[in-house]
Amino acid sequence: MATATAVVGLACSLWGRVGVPLDEGVFASQIWQLRVVRLAAAALVGAGLAGAGLALQGLLRNPLAEPYILGLSSGAGVGVLLGPSMGATLHLAAWATTPALAMLGALVTAAVVYGIARRRGRLDPYVLLLAGVIVNVFNGAMIMTLLQFTRQEEIFWFVSWGMGRIPEWLWHRPMLLGLCGGMILVGWIALFLRSTAMNMLSLGDDVASTSGVSVQRLRVETFVLVALMTSAAVALAGPIGFVGLIVPHVCRLLLGPDHRRLTIVAGFGGAMFLMLADTLCRLMGAWFQLGEIPVGVITALAGGPFFIVLLRRRAREGLG
């Protein structure tokens, strides 16, 4: 899996409008290095979002759960936009404030959505989705409000960030890339360590807790880890939707329900998916002379219909 991801990454790095000199010094060329940094970011973001989506679906026993749909991404987005102004007042480095505030935004959103959907210790799957919709609207309004107070020259950056794209400038921000990458990897490993407990949770809360799983603790821990991974992804690349929906679903179709396997595979799968999607954006932009298409647009174009199919199928089966 790791090898496959590396191969995909290498292939993507060699593919572009400007050819990389294959005969000599591929790895020394500036273009290649830029692309590799960008692909590394795409891989981290993809792994983070897919891992977070898988964990949410397992935790909530709801195949439609996803950081973007439940509003965690937009919550993190509010945090990211607060970053520049807060950072200036607190005299903190931007690479540290941005992910920290994103984390805070994601955690608050997670708590609100969870609180709305919880009835007598159970989570109503429809209420959960509606809560996500409402919180997304609210966070959207917050973002609009923040844009009002943003200086003209920064607005373009914010808008382009808000569409969800893997930025080129990470080359100049190694600390941000390192911190967010670290957050995603830590979250991923921690989720893997909880994958057996997550399997147990699919038997129902009562069976899981009488089989030795501290269900309440697992819930809180998983929400924190999901918020950690989502906020790191959003701090790097803005709110990219549906990666956390599509990738875990395809993995589950291919591999069955075992979270021990799924956590690993979904992570690598998400990394490959987003590297390919981002490369596609880069190439399409070049072919049609459009500049670059944000990768968030592509994933949303693919993910919207995917979500509807899942929703319809679930409605047919009857929501449990």
Partner: protein, 261 residues
């Protein structure tokens, strides 16, 4: 029923979901090793709520529940799982796991979070599947099984925990009569041959009276009667509990058959 011999004991347990509406009003239970106890009573009598308190999923408002003379809330989830196991009413989820994996999940408390199953784990799982006649379907998923086979697999999963107490919530509610018999025989064997305390919420008075060692009749959160089938299967007690006219039809080899009018 003396409390000293009980592995699981509840005394004067009270519980309310909402303030002022008591669902359980002072319930006692003493489940001894090697005994099969059935909780009977009409819908809404508090049987399932009481079972959830015995599982430690809910906590009593007052009263005490003790497992091996130690209060239930003092057990960690893991420690509790080694002594007490639960079989839910219907296996509704985890349908895609093969039976073998499902049963191994019962070893969670023994194996640890990430540990691979040891030889002991595999051995215990194998025994649990043999006991419940699930070995033949070990490689199939729950989804592919009949209701009876699926319930057996869920019982095997509980047995893999190697508990001293096994609690079941209406395990035969969707099963045909052949499978109902099979499950009740199995529960009796778990008590007699395996030495477990088996507590089962049931709606089938006749099966319960035939197989259980003790019966407990509940109504509106209180115990109407408790004891051996001969003491509990009585016209006036059953009429009081279920609010229907009762006819008892004698049988040659066991407790009388209860018929409601």
């Amino acid at each position: 029923m003396s409390d000293a011999s009980a592995i699981l004991a509840a005394s004067d347990v009270r519980f309310a979901y909402r303030a002022g509406v008591e669902v359980l009003r002072g319930v006692h239970l003493a489940a001894a090793k090697g005994k099969f106890i059935c909780l009977l009573g009409p819908n809404g009598s508090g049987k399932t709520t009481f079972l959830k308190l015995l599982l430690g999923v809910l906590s009593p408002a007052s009263g005490r529940i003790e497992l091996e003379a130690k209060p239930l809330e003092q057990y960690s989830a893991r420690a509790l799982a080694k002594k007490l196991a639960y079989v839910p009413q219907t296996p509704t989820s985890a349908l895609n796991f093969p039976v073998r994996e499902l049963v191994l999940m019962g070893r969670y408390a023994h194996t640890g979070a990430m540990g691979l199953p040891s030889e002991t784990d595999l051995q215990v799982a194998r025994l649990a599947m043999e006991m419940t006649e699930s070995t033949d379907v070990a490689d199939r998923t729950l989804e592919e099984l009949s209701g009876g086979q699926a319930q057996c697999a869920m019982i095997a999963r509980a047995l893999a925990q190697q508990p001293g107490v096994c609690l079941l919530d209406e395990p035969t509610s969707h099963l045909d009569i052949r499978n109902q018999l099979k499950i009740y025989r199995m529960m009796r064997r778990l008590a007699r041959d395996w030495g477990m305390a088996v507590v089962c919420v049931s709606h089938d008075i006749n099966l319960a009276a035939r197989f259980a060692d003790e019966l407990m009749l509940m109504k509106r959160g209180a115990v109407i009667a408790a004891g051996g089938p001969a003491e509990v299967i009585q016209k006036n007690l059953l009429r009081e509990t279920y609010d229907v006219e009762i006819e008892l039809i004698p049988t040659s080899d066991g407790p009388p058959i209860v018929r409601a009018h």
